[in-house]
């Protein structure tokens, strides 16, 4: 999906829909299946295996304690899937354009710049992780559970150094407050179709959420 405005908007609506209702999650998953390069997204899921493990544990606990764990687990997994798709569709520089389009040359540019630099940091973090792994291999040190804290400390230290370098580079390049940018977006017909298709997902989720509020919610019944 080329247009970042439609993509972020779609992801927000789909995530909200998946969160509020199981039917919303199902509809969001159906949308994901139709409109995204799902194989690529699934390949990227290995990056969030840790999150899945955590969700599985929480879902199990919830199911045992109050019986809604499976619903929770399914809804959160769909949200993660949408997040992985969103991250995979990122094109460098687009957050800056989105920020300025949304909120202008000052606040919008600053927020967009923060988002871009955040993405750069994430990419650099993955590069640093790789380098640390290679360093351990070269020194023939097994990278096991005892190596996590030193490796993590190194990663943080490297990020701090990078943040300092970036701050200096921003200052010397004249950054003070905001910046000038003419936002530009590429919007294809598929983007528009996919964007509009998010609305039925939202309505399905909203219907079931309202149904839950008025007919199933013990809390609301108590209030009324």
């Amino acid at each position: 999906m080329q247009d970042v405005r439609i993509r972020i908007g779609a992801a927000a609506v789909l995530s909200f829909s998946a969160f509020v209702s199981l039917w919303g999650a199902a509809a969001a998953f159906f949308w994901f299946f139709i409109f995204t390069p799902r194989l690529q997204s699934i390949r990227r899921l290995r990056l969030v295996i840790g999150a899945f493990v955590m969700i599985a544990i929480i879902s199990l606990l919830l199911q045992i304690t109050n019986g809604s764990g499976y619903s929770y687990g399914i809804r959160i997994i769909v949200i993660i899937l949408i997040g992985v798709w969103l991250a995979g569709e990122y094109h460098p520089g687009e957050f800056l354009h989105l920020g300025v389009w949304l909120a202008g040359d000052h606040l919008g540019f600053d927020v967009g710049l923060m988002a871009e630099m955040g993405m750069q940091s994430l990419i650099s973090l993955l590069d640093d992780l790789d380098r640390i792994r290679i360093a351990y291999i070269l020194k023939k040190i097994p990278l096991d559970i005892t190596g996590i804290i030193p490796a993590g400390t190194l990663l943080v230290h490297m990020e701090l150094i990078r943040a300092r370098d970036n701050a200096e580079l921003l200052a010397v390049r004249g950054y003070r407050d905001g910046g000038a940018l003419q936002p530009g977006f590429k919007t294809s017909r598929l983007d528009i179709v996919a964007g509009l298709s998010v609305m039925p997902v939202f309505f399905i989720a909203a219907l079931h959420f309202v149904n839950f509020l008025y007919f199933d919610s013990a809390f609301l019944k108590g209030l009324l």
Partner: protein, 230 residues
């Protein structure tokens, strides 16, 4: 003791490198422009990057060490002492040898670029390795440190040392010169004959050859000796 590359080909995206030849005991120079594939070849020789085609045969190579261009890419310790220990070295001896006495508790990433590079090279050269691969060991060193490094390398005669570098001024003597050009590793041979077939020697060596005073090797001493010849 040797490493033989049998028609290997390494591909990364649009880039490819073909290499064929044998590295015997001694100090080898692999030269080439930035982006020519020196680091890629170093990774391949270290066994970190398998070639797409061809084979690498190692004979008499019990241990291999690769030193990457940027020393911070090697850091695993939270202090300089831990970093020395991670290389299997005794911290006090190593830190004293590279002018970092008293820096045991300093974070390696808090050291200056020269200090970290010196520490790194001291650790790498402290351990005997049959195959030693040094990727841009001169970068981040000052002139004195470069001379000191050349002196250290001169004593590494019992193994295969391959130095991948684009350094132009301060170099040690080499037993063999290789050059990566247009995606191919060329064996230019042994100095002084190698200097005639070397397409991109350092500018001073080029000038000396043009003046009919080809040096015997490429260390500063050899260049001075050649320049003084009548």
């Amino acid at each position: 003791m040797r490493v033989s590359l049998d028609r290997i080909c390494i591909t990364q995206g649009n880039f490819s490198l073909a290499a064929d030849g044998t590295f015997n005991k001694g100090v080898h120079l692999v030269s080439g422009a930035v982006g020519s594939g020196k680091s890629t070849l170093a990774l391949c020789l270290a066994g970190m990057l398998p070639p797409e085609r061809g084979t690498i045969q190692r004979s008499g190579i019990g241990s291999t060490m690769l030193s990457l261009q940027f020393p911070e890419h090697h850091v695993t310790g939270m202090t300089a002492a831990e970093e020395c220990t991670s290389w299997g070295c005794e911290p006090d001896t190593i830190l004293a040898s590279c002018g970092l006495k008293g820096h045991n508790k300093t974070s390696p990433l808090a050291l200056s670029r020269g200090e970290l590079k010196r520490l790194h090279l001291a650790c790498v050269l402290n351990n005997p390795n049959d195959l030693l691969l040094l990727d841009e060991p001169f970068s981040s060193l000052d002139c004195e440190e470069k001379y000191a490094f050349c002196t250290l390398i001169a004593h590494h005669t019992s193994n295969i040392t391959i130095i991948f570098t684009h350094e132009q001024s301060v170099l040690p003597k080499f037993d063999r010169i290789w050059e990566i050009e247009n995606g191919i590793l060329h064996d230019r041979g042994t100095p002084p004959e190698a200097l005639k077939t070397w397409n991109s020697p350092p500018p001073l060596i080029k000038k000396l050859i043009a003046a009919g005073k080809s040096p015997r090797n490429i260390s500063q001493k050899d260049i001075l000796e050649a320049a003084c010849r009548t």
